[in-house]
Symmetry: C2
Subunit: 419 residues, 2 copies
C-alpha cells in the first residue's frame, strides 16, 4: 500500500487554530445575515456536468473537477472523448447551483427569496501560495426583487458583517453595467466591442489612464473613440459629483430609472451605514462575469491588494433554466481572504467561559475517576471548556503545551493526597 | 443547452426549513463537544484514490465517486482501465481522512488530539428513500489516548450532545472486539472464522438465537462449537450481571486489563450520566468495520429501527500511514438520522430575538427609505431579525406568507400617512 500523508495537490488540511477562526467567522456570518432575513440553503457539491458547462461559469468551466460515470454507464472501450466518461462535476461557484435550486424549488420558497450559502467550491487552478483548489465561498443572493432594495440590503448586510468581524476603513466600490455600456456607446464603440473594451478598462487600477489608452489604440479602436471615452473618466475625476456628471452626460442613452435607482442606492446606504467603511462610485469597475446585467460592486480592503468580495445584479440567469427571467442580485464575501487577513492580524476568537484542564494521575481508582468526571460535567454545564486528561510524567511540559492551546487553569487529581 | 433543474441523482437540495434545523444542530454539536475539549478540524473532500482504496473503507470502497485526471495527465487513448483515468475520489467517510491528517500533522497537534469533524461524505449507493449519496457525518475522535478515558469521554460527550438536542430514553450499547474474539475462541472457532461468525452474530437482533444457530450450522460449523457459543449468550441472559459472568468465563483467555478497563468504562459512565439514556452491555454488538480493535459502541433510538451512530477503538490504523501505531478511538453521530428524527417530530429551533417584517409601499421616497433602513439597522443591533420588503398589492396574502415563515410582527410604511 502506498498511502500518502499529504492532502491531494492544491488542497489543504485545516489545523485547529485556523478552524477556530473559521467556525467563529461562520457563526458571525450566519447570525448577522439571519438578522437581515436571509435563510440558509444548500445544494449538493456535485452538479450535472451539463449545468456546469452552461456558459454562466466563464473561465471557471475550464477548471472543473469531473466525476467518472459509474457501473454500466462507464464504457471505457467505447469512449471517444472525456465527455463520454463523465456525468458530474464539483461545483466551481455557488451561483450556478443557486439558480438551478431556485428553478427547481421556486414554488416552495418565499418571494423574494433571500438566500445565504456557505460552502466549498473546487477549481483545478494551478496551485499557488494562498490559493487552493478547494475553498469556501459565502454568498448572499436575493431572487425575485427587481427594485434596488436588493442592492441596498445586500450592501448593508455584507458591510455590517464585515464590521462585526472587526474590519474597518474598507471601500465598497459600486458601478452599473448599464452605465458602463452607455459610456461605451456614447464614445462610439459598437456593442460587439464592449466586452473587449471593458477587459482593458478593468486594468485601470494597474496601468492607469495612459496604459488603458495605449491598449485601446493597440486593439484597433480609433483615436476619436478612445479620446472621447477617456475624456469621460477625466471629466468625472475633475467634477465635484462624478455620479451626477456622468448621469447628465448619458441622460439620453441610459434606460429609464437607472439614474434614480443608482443614486438611491448610494444615498440610502450613505445615510444608514456607520463610518467604518466608504461607499464609492467607481466608473472603472467592471467585474469579470458576463452574466451581470445591472449594478455591480466590490469590496476593496486596504490591507489586501485585490478584491475581498463582490457581486451584482444578474437578471437573466434564472431564465436559462426556466425560460422565465427572474430578478436576481448577489454579494459574495471572499471568505478565504477574510480568514487570511484575520489570521495574519493575530485575531483572537472571543472566549465563552473558561478553558480548564483536569489532570489525573495515572492509576487513579474508579471511584475517584467518577468524582472527577462528575465535577467536569458540572463545570461544562456552567459554560466552561473542561479537558479531562491523564497526567503525563513530565507534567510541566504538559502544562506548557496546554497553556499554548489556551487552557488558563489547571486542576490536579492524585491517587493519594499530596504530602 | 439542456439544463437540468434537478440535483444529480441521489443527492438533494436542502430547503430553508431543514437548513434551520441543521444549522442549529451543528451549533449545539460544536458548542457541546468544545466543552469537552474537542477541536474542529477539516480535510479536503477529495482524497488521493490510493488512500481511499486502502482497505480501511470496507464495502464503501466500491462506492467511490472518482475524479478524472486533468490536462496532460489524462491519456484517454492509452487508458486500459478505470485506474488509469482517475487520481482522486470523494471521501466516503471521515475516518480515513482523519488518519491521513493525523499522520501528516502529528507534530503540530496536541497529544492526545481530540478532533471534531462535521463534513459531507459521498457514496454511490443505490438511491433509496431517506438515503442520499451525499450526506453529512459528525465524528469525534481521540488519537494518542491508550487508556479507557477516551471511551468514557467520547460516550459522555456524545450522549450529552444528544441530550441537549432533546433526545431521551435511548440506549448506548457497548461491547469489545476482544470479548467477541475471546468468546469465539472459547467456543472453539478458529481465528480465520471470526469475521464470518460475527457477521452471522450481528443478525441476532433480526433473526434471534435460533436463527443465528441455524445460520452457523449451515455455514458448516460443528454442533459442539455452535452449542458452546450460543450457550454463552443464554447463560449471560440468565445471569444477574452479564459482564461479570462472561468475564469470569473468559478469565484465562482475555488479554490482561480488558476486564478492568471495560468495567471501568461502564461504572464511570453509569455514575456520571443523567438518567435520560441507558448504557447496556450487548455481547451481540459487532459493528461492521474490520478496523476496530477494542471497545465498540452504538446508539439505539426507540424512534428509529437501526443504529443512530456508533464507534469504537481502532488502534492499528494510523500505523498503516506512518508505520507506528497510535491509540485511536472515535464516536460518530448519525447526523442525517438525527435531522430526520427532529424534522419528523416537529422540532422547533429555539428563537433568538423577534422576527419582524417591515413592509414599504412601493414608490416610497428616498428620505423615508433611509429612515426605514436606519430603524431596521437599529432593531437588528438589538438582536432581532428584520426583513425589509416592498409591500405587495395583495398585502393580506403577503402577510400570511411571512407569518408562515415565522414573522410574528409587521410594521408598515406608506408614502403618505394613512387616512
Amino acid at each position: 500500500m502506498a498511502l500518502s500523508k499529504k492532502p491531494v495537490t492544491g488542497m489543504k488540511d485545516i489545523l485547529p487554530e485556523e478552524m477556530e477562526i473559521r467556525d467563529y467567522v461562520i457563526s458571525v456570518i450566519k447570525e448577522t445575515y439571519a438578522s437581515y432575513g436571509f435563510t440558509s440553503m444548500e445544494t449538493p457539491c456535485v452538479e450535472n456536468i451539463a449545468n456546469l458547462n452552461c456558459k454562466a461559469g466563464g473561465e471557471n468551466e475550464k477548471l472543473i473537477f469531473k466525476i467518472l460515470k459509474r457501473g454500466e454507464k462507464l464504457r471505457l472501450a467505447e469512449a471517444e472523448s472525456e465527455g463520454d466518461l463523465v456525468d458530474g462535476g464539483l461545483r466551481y461557484d455557488l451561483t450556478v447551483p443557486l439558480v438551478r435550486y431556485y428553478s427547481n424549488h421556486a414554488n416552495e420558497l418565499p418571494s423574494p427569496f433571500k438566500a445565504l450559502q456557505i460552502g466549498n467550491v473546487w477549481r483545478a487552478d494551478r496551485p499557488q501560495r494562498g490559493r487552493y483548489r478547494q475553498f469556501m465561498q459565502c454568498d448572499i443572493d436575493i431572487l425575485g426583487e427587481a427594485s434596488n432594495l436588493a442592492e441596498i440590503e445586500l450592501i448593508l448586510a455584507t458591510t455590517t458583517t464585515l464590521g462585526k468581524l472587526g474590519f474597518k476603513d474598507f471601500q465598497i466600490r459600486i458601478n452599473d453595467r448599464q452605465i458602463l455600456k452607455a459610456m461605451a456607446s456614447y464614445s462610439g464603440f459598437s456593442e460587439d466591442d464592449y466586452d473587449n473594451v471593458f477587459i482593458i478598462l478593468d486594468k485601470m487600477d494597474k496601468i492607469g489612464l495612459e496604459g488603458v489608452q495605449a491598449e485601446l489604440l493597440e486593439a484597433g479602436y480609433t483615436n476619436a473613440q478612445v479620446e472621447k471615452y477617456l475624456g469621460l473618466f477625466r471629466d468625472m475625476e475633475a467634477s465635484e459629483d462624478a455620479v451626477a456628471y456622468i448621469m447628465d452626460v448619458l441622460a439620453d442613452i441610459l434606460p429609464e430609472g437607472v439614474r434614480e435607482g443608482f443614486q438611491e442606492i448610494i444615498e440610502s446606504v450613505e445615510a444608514t451605514k456607520g463610518d467604518f467603511f466608504e461607499l464609492r462610485f467607481d466608473p472603472t469597475l467592471v467585474r469579470g462575469m458576463s452574466y451581470y446585467t445591472g449594478t455591480i460592486f466590490e469590496i476593496a480592503m486596504p490591507e489586501f491588494g485585490g478584491s475581498c468580495g463582490g457581486g451584482g445584479r444578474y437578471d437573466k440567469m434564472v431564465g436559462k433554466f426556466t425560460g422565465n427571467d427572474v430578478a436576481a442580485c448577489g454579494f459574495s464575501i471572499g471568505f478565504e481572504r477574510i480568514i487570511l487577513l484575520l489570521t495574519e492580524s493575530g485575531f483572537q476568537v472571543p472566549k465563552a467561559g473558561k478553558k480548564i484542564a483536569y489532570l489525573m494521575e495515572k492509576g487513579i481508582p474508579a471511584d475517584m475517576l467518577c468524582k472527577v468526571l462528575a465535577q467536569a460535567q458540572k463545570e461544562r454545564e456552567e459554560g466552561n471548556q473542561i479537558l479531562v486528561a491523564r497526567m503525563n510524567k513530565n507534567k510541566k511540559f504538559q502544562k506548557e503545551q496546554l497553556t499554548a492551546q489556551g487552557y488558563e487553569d489547571f486542576k490536579e487529581f492524585y491517587k493519594e493526597p499530596l504530602k
